[in-house]
Amino acid sequence: MNRPKMVNFKDPETVRDYPMGATCDSDHLTSINAGWRTFRPVIDQEKCIKCMRCFLVCPDGVIDKSGDQLEIDYDFCKGCGVCAHECKPKAINMVKEAING
């Protein structure tokens, strides 16, 4: 998986430790989006023809194509279903997330 990683952010201890101006480092992820998801896209690797269309159309860029198989970053997938809808061989199934897990 080659996707941006979370940073371990600690609240500034004093007002003086706040950034100078309304500023923050870029590439600074402190919270994931997994909790937004009702359905989880699951790639059927048997059916996948690696056309990379899902990688292209994902609004969140969570599909990684660097490995042998396409891989989904479930920390940031919102479960919008665009990938499954656009997949020509129907290799992505939207599976309901379990309530407890």
């Binding site: 500034p12 003086r16 706040y18 950034p19 100078m20 101006g21 309304a22 500023t23 923050c24 870029s26």
Partner: protein, 404 residues
Amino acid sequence: MARRFVSGNDAVAEGVRLARPHVISAYPITPQTIVVERLSEFVEDGSLQSIYMHVESEHSALAAAMGVSSVGARAFTATSSQGLLYMAENLPYASGARMPIVMMNANRALATPWNIYGDQMDSMFMLNSGWIQVYVEDAQEALDMMIQAYKIAEDPKVLTPFMVNLDGFVLTHTYEVVDIPTQEEVDAFLPPINLSENIMSMEAPKSLCITAGNNYNMEFKIKQNEEMIESISVIEQVDAAFEKQFGRGYNGLLETVDCEDADVILVTTGSITGTARMVQKTLRAEGKKVGLLKLRYLRPFPTKALTEALKNAKVVGVVDKNISFGYEGTIFTNVNSALMQEGASQKVDNFICGLGGRDVTKENIHEMYEKMLVHLETSADVNDANVASKPQDRIHYMNVRCAL
């Protein structure tokens, strides 16, 4: 050093040329126009190596300057009156981002009624914008403050945008003899801009002008306020260093004339101070214990220095070329607040004058001192036709052409 006979606006342009901003983005408005005309000429003739952006509005003038500052380059803009208010939303934007942009403002009346002449209604609107505000008395101070402004604004402890205010026409269009320092002298005083913490750069990519919700927002603002109050010491140090290098200084945030033993002290800003100096001198020669306080900075507000200078006075008069409608002059409000904070008990008078370019003559200033001297002896000058009825009975409208 060269000595030249120039207008206030020319002096500003000379000061800006010496400060060598990377980019100038400005939109013309009377009475600021000569500043931007001169700067465009300097760019054309090569005596200033800046990019001149012909923006389509004041709003974009400051927005473009913010873009320039956001990558760590030095930016300059200039405006006046309606133009300042048109760019208004960008003022707190730039200060919240701690961008050390310098802006010249030609103080001018606000419509309506339309009027192109000088008063301070425009910049008073912006007292809460988070910009440092200085009011200069003459062309020399205008030139010098363009150089000091960058030095103060770009100080790593300050990083705050800076507004230099000149009275429209009375100062912007009046010719005086001005000493113009050499580029070498200015370069020795004002080093190249060097920002790192709050800029976008390839070395450390940043996100700027971010959102901070109700969980974090307040601390950003407190930091901004505390650090702006602390900029007082930088302002004083820079002025002292300037005096050391160029042989003239401005006493930091305010200047006092004969205040130590004065019974009555008149507080002025900007070019009126020049007239007040003459009147004060005459009255002193007559044996009257009068003083003068030239308030240079309104933000940060020099509470301590001001109350210290006024502590022996019995009557304090504040000259305001503005009104906060429904109340009083804005500088008066600020001075009163400072006096209250220090537990002082002076009698106070507010002289509202010069609106829409109305003359403020020596006679008018003389009259202000006379009123204060009367006030020294009585509770209030209730017989004066130009004193508003209670509860604003401390407001004196000066040089009014008819009865109230």
